[in-house]
């Protein structure tokens, strides 16, 4: 705070006094050296203020002030102040250097198949100093299912951001999502999963231990196998009451052992999807 006070004072005074002059570049590039030319003679004090930078040095008027590369690493507006008998200031803008990294956000990480506008991605180019590159750049988005290309689009960054949105595909599996800018690239994966079970069907038979009931291979409406572990609820109703088993799908099929000695009606459901009813006669 104590150091900033004279600097601020100098900036204010510089608008009132103008005994010497300097010429700052209209713009500079982050991480590259720049020069500021000065007029006049004698000694002066030079101040540089910018994002994350505050520097003071003695300079000779009439010569060029060298701005080092490490002083200009952060993009943004900089102030140069030159003080001799009076002070003079000038501002210039440091822009990001060329892209050196690509940040790529893809959402969601899992998506049911066949959903419109369900997959989106955002790419942001950054230079080597982690400055967002605001100049328009062309980013190529590429989606692959296995080795088959399912989506491709080139998009120009606007205010440092390029994006896409697309539907999930019909088949379950991993969707590879690539973004590239020049020789930079980033890769993400979206898991496309089966949707709700469709045409849930069961079959069953009496055994010594009760009724063994199992589903046919459980698939969604697009024919994708519903993932193992998905819960299928079997309900058997007979004269003794109701019996239920929540069984997970294993190797594509859910099965359960139900105790129901009398004539029994068995129903099946998984989430919001209902299946067929099965009627099994009483134990002989």
């Amino acid at each position: 705070m104590r150091r900033l006070l004279p600097i601020c004072t100098a900036i204010c005074l510089s608008t009132l006094c103008a005994a010497q002059d300097m010429h700052a570049p209209a713009s500079a590039i982050a991480g590259e050296e720049a020069t500021i030319s000065t007029n006049g003679s004698g000694k002066a004090t030079f101040y540089l203020l910018g994002p994350g930078v505050s520097r003071k040095s003695d300079v000779s008027l009439g010569s060029e002030v060298q701005l080092k590369a490490q002083d200009l690493q952060n993009a943004g507006e900089y102030f140069a102040v030159l003080c001799s008998d009076t002070c003079r200031s000038s501002s210039f803008y440091v822009t990001a250097a060329k892209p050196a990294g690509l940040t790529f956000l893809v959402h969601p990480s899992r998506v049911p198949v066949g959903q419109g506008d369900a997959v989106s991605g955002v790419a942001l180019p950054f230079d080597q100093f982690r400055n967002l590159v605001l100049t328009p750049e062309t980013v190529n988005f590429h989606l692959l299912e296995g080795t088959a290309s399912v989506f491709s689009r080139s998009s120009q960054t606007r205010d440092g951001i390029a994006w896409f949105r697309t539907a999930s595909q019909k088949s379950a599996g991993t969707l590879q999502v690539d973004a590239s800018l020049g020789d930079l690239s980033a890769r993400r994966a979206v898991q496309q999963v089966a949707s709700d079970p469709c045409n849930l069907r069961i079959k069953g038979e009496r055994t010594k231990a009760g009724i063994l009931v199992q589903t046919e291979p459980v698939r969604d409406c697009a024919g994708n196998p519903v993932p193992d572990g998905t819960i299928v609820s079997f309900t058997a109703t007979d004269g003794n009451g109701r019996s239920t088993v929540d069984a997970p799908i294993k190797q594509g099929v859910a099965r359960a052992q139900l105790e129901a000695p009398g004539a029994t009606v068995i129903s099946v459901a998984s989430g919001v999807a209902m299946g067929n009813e099965l009627r099994i006669g009483a134990q002989p």
């Binding site: 990294g101 940040t103 790529f104 956000l105 893809v106 959402h107 969601p108 990480s109 899992r110 980033a186 993400r188 999963v193 089966a194 709700d196 079970p197 993932p227 193992d228 572990g229 998905t230 819960i231 299928v232 609820s233 003794n240 009451g241 109701r242 019996s243 239920t244 088993v245 929540d246 069984a247 997970p248 294993k250 190797q251 359960a256 052992q257 139900l258 105790e259 998984s270 989430g271 919001v272």
Partner: protein, 377 residues
């Protein structure tokens, strides 16, 4: 002056000690003991004394004297008698102690009597009450309990093939780049919610479904808001929910707000939180022979049998049931812990209570089984 405070403190302490000495016997929190049941009589000249002697020995875990004092007509052996009281296989009973009891006669003649006892257990999941009938016989002028033969589950040695299904959680490795490690939280949804007043306070209940293809650890929170938009109270479902939901699984939840009346509540804010957890699809527990009946005390209960269809022991089964009216609306959620462990390929009975005021409205129900197994999270 400087002695005033110590004198007051001593007087208050003495007063509290006197109150504790004479007041404890009338405390309603220790009903069974207060009834004089924990006092051992040298000669059991009445059925009450005979039963009290047995239960006093059980409380003190004096198994030798308890077993030797049983009627000669008792059918069980010593090991099964002890196991009946102490539990086994890491069951809830094996972590419980008999805190007290209340006995009342059902009928009595000169030579035999039937007693009904409310047993008050302290357990890690809170106090549990158990109702049990005892048959007593007079033998040589001493009343003794005739211990029935207990059905203790035993499992023959066998190999049960299990297609083991498990989800592991892998944190991304490699670069720490922004966006490179994101895995979305599971997608869960509250599919029903109902708020009612009960004798103990307001209750918010309903059901939650895991709509995702991965397991979810779920917790439901609710905040009650008054007419001015100010939060009155917020609570969570705590153990009244099956926290680990497999894909497409539905669980009931219940959130209790003790001593709060819904007439002061303008709005209920619901919040369901789901996180990705490693989980296993085993064990599978069937819920057989579910029926709404009246128990020996005239209460409406949903009873049935749990059947462990897998190859691993479930130490503490926990049953949660949602009850629906004829419109399919959830009108109550009850839960109950099962005292005995659920051994592989074997069953255990369960029962959960339905409030008397709602028993007539129950048209349907849905039961889920939460399970705690030692050595597994």
């Amino acid at each position: 002056m400087k002695f005033t405070l110590p004198i007051i403190l001593v007087a208050v302490t003495a007063g509290l000690m006197t109150l504790a000495l004479f007041g404890a016997g009338h405390s309603s929190g220790t009903v069974g003991i207060a009834a004089g049941s924990a006092v051992f009589s040298t000669k059991a000249s009445t059925p009450e004394q005979g039963l009290n002697n047995l239960l006093a020995d059980v409380q003190r875990r004096n198994w030798d004297r308890a077993y030797s004092a049983l009627s000669t007509t008792s059918a069980g052996d010593r090991q099964s008698f002890i196991q009946d009281w102490t539990g086994s296989d890491g069951s809830l009973r094996s972590f419980s102690s008999l805190e007290g009891f209340q006995a009342r006669p059902l009928h009595a003649t000169n030579d035999d009597a039937q007693m009904r006892v409310r047993l008050h257990w302290t357990t890690p999941v809170g106090p549990i009450e158990d109702v049990r009938d005892f048959h007593l016989i007079r033998e040589a002028n001493t009343w003794k309990v005739a211990w029935p033969k207990m059905q203790i589950s035993s499992v023959p040695a066998q190999i049960i093939p299990v297609t083991y299904l498990r989800w592991d959680l892998v944190s991304g490795s490699g670069s720490d780049e922004w966006g490179s490690k994101n895995v979305d939280a599971p997608h869960v949804r509250i599919i029903s919610m109902n708020a009612v007043d009960s004798a103990e306070g307001a209750v918010v209940m309903g059901e939650v479904v895991n709509e995702d293809t991965i397991p979810a650890f779920v917790n439901v929170n609710a905040a009650l808001v008054d007419g001015a938009g100010k939060a009155i109270d917020d609570e969570s479902s705590f153990d009244k929910i099956d926290h680990v939901l497999l894909p497409k699984q539905v669980t009931p939840y219940r959130i209790d707000f003790p001593n709060i009346n819904l007439k002061n509540v303008k709005n209920v804010r619901m919040d369901v939180k789901a996180t990705l957890v490693p989980a296993s699809a085993d064990p599978v527990i069937g819920v057989m022979n579910q029926k709404v009946v009246s128990d020996v005390q005239g209460k409406s209960i949903l009873q049935g049998d749990l059947m462990n269809e897998s190859g691993q022991t479930v130490n503490i089964p926990h049953v949660i049931a949602s009850f629906y009216d004829n419109n399919g609306k959830v009108i109550w959620v009850s839960d109950g812990y099962v005292n005995r462990a659920l051994l592989p390929q074997s069953g255990q009975p369960f029962a959960v209570e339905i409030p008397k005021s709602l028993a007539g409205k129950v048209q349907s129900f849905h039961v889920v089984v939460n399970q705690y197994s030692l050595g597994r999270s």
